[in-house]
């Protein structure tokens, strides 16, 4: 697996803030942001998985799992980090033609990124 330069929001910051820091202690820049990919009837499942693998450096298994979540649930949080980081990812996703948006993570105790699955155990919004 090749790690791309843009990788790593969940392994660097969130794992620490998620375990030790309480919600109150988080100042605005610390609040993690999510990168959301939305389903559409055009993008090929294979292509979406390829983008997740090649851009984020995700394993085939993880990329396919996130891709299926987009396909079945309509959306999936595929990365998180600072606002600047996820905005940069969003532009890259738009470059590939994927429908991506950024949003503030719901609440402070989202558990950080549990390495494997961003989006896992996240509070549902809406």
């Amino acid at each position: 697996m090749t790690l791309s330069v843009a990788l790593g929001p969940d392994t660097q910051e969130s794992t620490q803030t998620g375990t030790a820091v309480s919600t109150d202690a988080l100042t605005a820049p610390d609040i993690p942001w999510n990168l959301v990919i939305w389903n559409d009837p055009v993008n090929l499942m294979s292509y979406v998985s390829y983008v997740f693998q090649s851009y984020f450096g995700y394993s085939e298994t993880k990329a396919n799992k996130l891709m299926m979540e987009v396909h079945k649930k309509g959306r999936s949080i595929v990365a998180h980090g600072s606002k600047e980081q996820v905005e940069q990812h969003a532009v890259a996703m738009h470059g590939y033609g994927l429908w991506a948006t950024v949003e503030k993570a719901a609440g402070g105790n989202s558990g950080g990124g549990k390495n494997g699955g961003p989006g896992k155990g996240k509070g549902k919004r809406g």
Partner: protein, 188 residues
């Protein structure tokens, strides 16, 4: 008939008939012309140089809006601000991929290195997004309906012709992405 892309010793290779090359060339060119930013006289040259565009608005054309979507779901103002900072370079990224793919069509044989293949997959994807808006593909049922159109002898109107073109580019992109995924697997 075109042959599916394959991954082998030479890299990713494909074969297209002359008519298919001409079709793809015109599709790539069409999307490039959609994406070319309008030059406004009030544009600050320095701002343009660093990619800022303060005159930019959310596109009114649906297909263009799909190529250049808002970065936030429910915040038009923040999305517009972000668009001013990033849309110009996003357009340039897309135009770059489309032009690179069009250039490859000049050669007799399609032999794609990793970077070329990436440009091709992005270019084909953008073409399909535009065609899908023109065909009004809103959900999976619409997509299935369009997918049933496979016989070129049935092409009687613009819509059925567009559907055939969409299905051709879908098939081509799928075979390309499969070859790209194979090329990413570690060799034994």
């Amino acid at each position: 008939m075109a042959k599916a892309f394959k991954y082998g010793l030479k890299g990713i290779t494909g074969f297209l008939e002359p008519a298919e090359r001409e079709l793809l060339r015109s599709l790539f060119d069409d999307v490039v012309s959609m994406l070319q930013p309008e030059e406004s006289s009030s544009q600050d040259p320095l701002a343009a140089l660093i990619g800022l565009d303060m005159d930019v608005r959310e596109p009114s054309d649906r297909a263009l809006r799909r190529l250049l979507p808002n970065v936030m779901k429910d915040d038009g103002a923040a999305s517009l601000e972000f668009r001013q900072l990033t849309e110009r370079s996003l357009r340039e990224t897309k135009i770059g991929a489309l032009r690179a793919a069009a250039l490859d069509l000049d050669k007799d044989e399609l032999v794609l290195a990793a970077a070329d293949a990436k440009h091709w997959s992005m270019a084909l994807n953008d073409v399909r997004l535009v065609l899908a808006e023109r065909l009004d593909i809103q959900d999976e049922a619409d997509a299935d309906h369009v997918h049933q159109m496979q016989d070129w002898s049935q092409a009687e109107d613009v819509e059925s012709y567009l559907a055939l073109v969409y299905n051709f580019t879908t098939w081509l992109q799928e075979s390309l992405v499969q070859a790209m995924l194979q090329s990413m697997e570690p060799r034994p």
